[in-house]
Amino acid sequence: MKPGGILMKNVTLDYRLYHDRAVTLRDTMLNFFNRKTRIEHFRALNDVSFNIAPGSSVAVIGSNGAGKSTTLKILAGIYKPTSGTSESGGRIASLLDLGVGFHPDLTGEENLMLNGALLGLDRNEMKKLVPEIVEFAQLERFMDTPVKYYSSGMFMRLGFSLATSVDPDILLIDEVLAVGDVGFQDRCYERICDFQEKGRTIIFVSHDLEAVSRLCRRAIWLHEGSIKMDGSVEDVLSGYIENVQKKHIAEAATPTEWGTREIWFDSVILRNTDGTPSGTFRRGEKIVVDTLIKSRLPSTVDNVVFGFSIHRIDGETVIGTNNLEMNQPLLSFRGSVASRIEIDLSIAEPGTYLLGLALTDPEANKDYHWQEFFYPVTLLEKRKDTPLKLSEAVWIQE
């Protein structure tokens, strides 16, 4: 195999899945005698094959649990496939977990030497690399300090510099680019771009689709352990995004309306606190639901319960209550009545929600009119202060 090339052939990997894991010998004995050994296998990767040419940058995308990290671990030689083969050429550096080999009591320099040995470098090679690693991590002053006194940013910086300093033929990156401050992150990206220019192979696992499209030209989309799509980054990303959205729409609640309509909502208007009709509300603002309710029943109706609900767009109920539950006056009218609900919410998670309304009489076991998932409301953070404030403006004609 050429340095930098990767060939995965029909790779399958099973994990043992423990439901009620027997960790002590006694449990095992008991389970053994009860014939209740509950070992199940979970297939993390199922018949995955791909071929990566030296010098290409490939992204691996997919939802959580799709098998992305498992794939990297197999490439790094950490896991052995249950069946199938994985081959690669040249030296591999993996950015799976930064600074794991560091011992807190050893100094920065001692840790670098130890990790060099773990990566399989000989002492002279490592000695030559140390100044460069230290410089890139900007930790010149801290190399004789035990790493337990490092800030987490310093720790990560040293880890990243070390892992990328060995000039690998293949670089495996697992979502670790959020290292240090913005300045350091930029230099990390720069270093990765350098690798690309030098013709090294990069396998990049990330949920950051923007970074994926910036760094890679090919993408592999894993879904539940199998390859769903493998192609140019544009095609795969658009397929992936479309699929994610489709799932949302399919699960989304569509407006529905039912009831006897003996009493019904004739008109509904949502307004904000100052009375203007609106579907967007900021933190601290009330949602005012202005309704005109009509009745076709000949006599006065009493004890009408007026309720509302708020659902997330995926249909999950967030709030559902009514005037009966909240000890507020029930509706009592004949013909028609204007009724208003003022809803004051504390917003934890801004976003779009669906408001529903209902008119019922639980005592008579009647549903007059339900409008579920009916009125979209967008709840936002409080607006920040306007970036500019006018102090004064003067118009002068001379």
Partner: protein
């Protein structure tokens, strides 16, 4: 996967052992001396117990030196096994993030303890000479004997480190086992005619010779304490147990490694 040549493997072992030694005695005033102090303290305790309370030690001249001769390698043996039992679990993040030969983890624990033992043996020899136990030519045999002891200990360490990943009971069990093993080993008593007098059962003495560590203890007593050539049975016992444990250790470790990595 990068190929691990023997030279790089050696360097990795060296680095892991150096780390172990550096880390162990950080913030400790007596530091390295503890490896000698621990057996010295236990020697004093056993000396008083077995000469003042149970009174069989009196039959052995310079009983304290006899005790120390056995306690030093025992300390190596038991410390190595306790430390290596949890070596894979303690390094689970490392194991799951980069590939390197994982056998080096338990093996490095054993090697770090071996370095302690070598220094302690040097001090022992000085003490022995001071009290008139001059070494004979047989002293050169300490090198092959130590090599075999290390091989045996590493083999057991590999087995225990794997076992402990599947069942945490191993760590608890090994402590109890080592306690029993200590008394079943010729450390506080010899396996010669004096030993038969103390134990008062020639058959039991013969059985105790099958203890895997008995062979090495007999070699220690012959070389250091008595200054004679070790008996043949001790070599046969030590080398057969070493081969058995090393082969079993490597075979089990190799077989279990792919599963263990996912279990950690």
């Amino acid at each position: 996967m990068s190929k691990w040549r023997i030279g790089r493997l050696f360097l990795l072992m060296q680095s892991l052992v150096a780390k172990d030694l550096k880390v162990r005695y950080k913030r400790s005033i007596l530091g390295f001396a503890w490896f000698l102090l621990k057996p010295l303290f236990s020697m004093v305790v056993y000396y008083f117990v077995f000469t003042r309370i149970l009174r069989f030690g009196g039959a052995i001249p310079h009983f304290s030196l006899f005790l120390l001769t056995g306690l030093l390698p025992w300390n190596f043996f038991s410390s190595s096994l306790s430390a290596s039992t949890s070596s894979l679990l303690d390094n689970h993040r490392l194991i799951r993030s980069i590939y390197f030969p994982r056998m080096t983890l338990p093996a490095a624990e054993v090697t770090a303890n071996l370095i302690h033992l070598l220094l302690a043996l040097l001090v022992l020899e000085i003490l022995l000479i001071t009290f008139g136990h001059y070494p004979g030519l047989s002293i050169i045999l300490i090198l092959p004997a130590l090599a075999l002891l290390t091989i045996m200990t590493t083999g057991i360490a590999l087995l225990l480190s794997i076992g402990n990943v599947f069942y945490r009971d191993v760590k608890q069990f090994i402590e109890v086992l080592l306690l029993a093993w200590f008394y079943a080993s010729p450390i506080i008593y010899p396996l010669d005619s004096i030993g038969v007098d103390i134990i008062q059962s020639p058959r039991l003495v013969q059985i105790l010779k099958f203890n895997p560590i008995s062979g090495f203890m007999e070699i220690m007593h012959s070389i250091f304490y008595a200054g004679t050539w070790p008996p043949l049975w001790s070599w046969i016992s030590l080398s057969s147990w070493s081969i058995v444990f090393l082969l079993a250790g490597i075979a089990v470790f190799r077989k279990a490694e792919p599963v263990v990595v996912k279990e950690l």
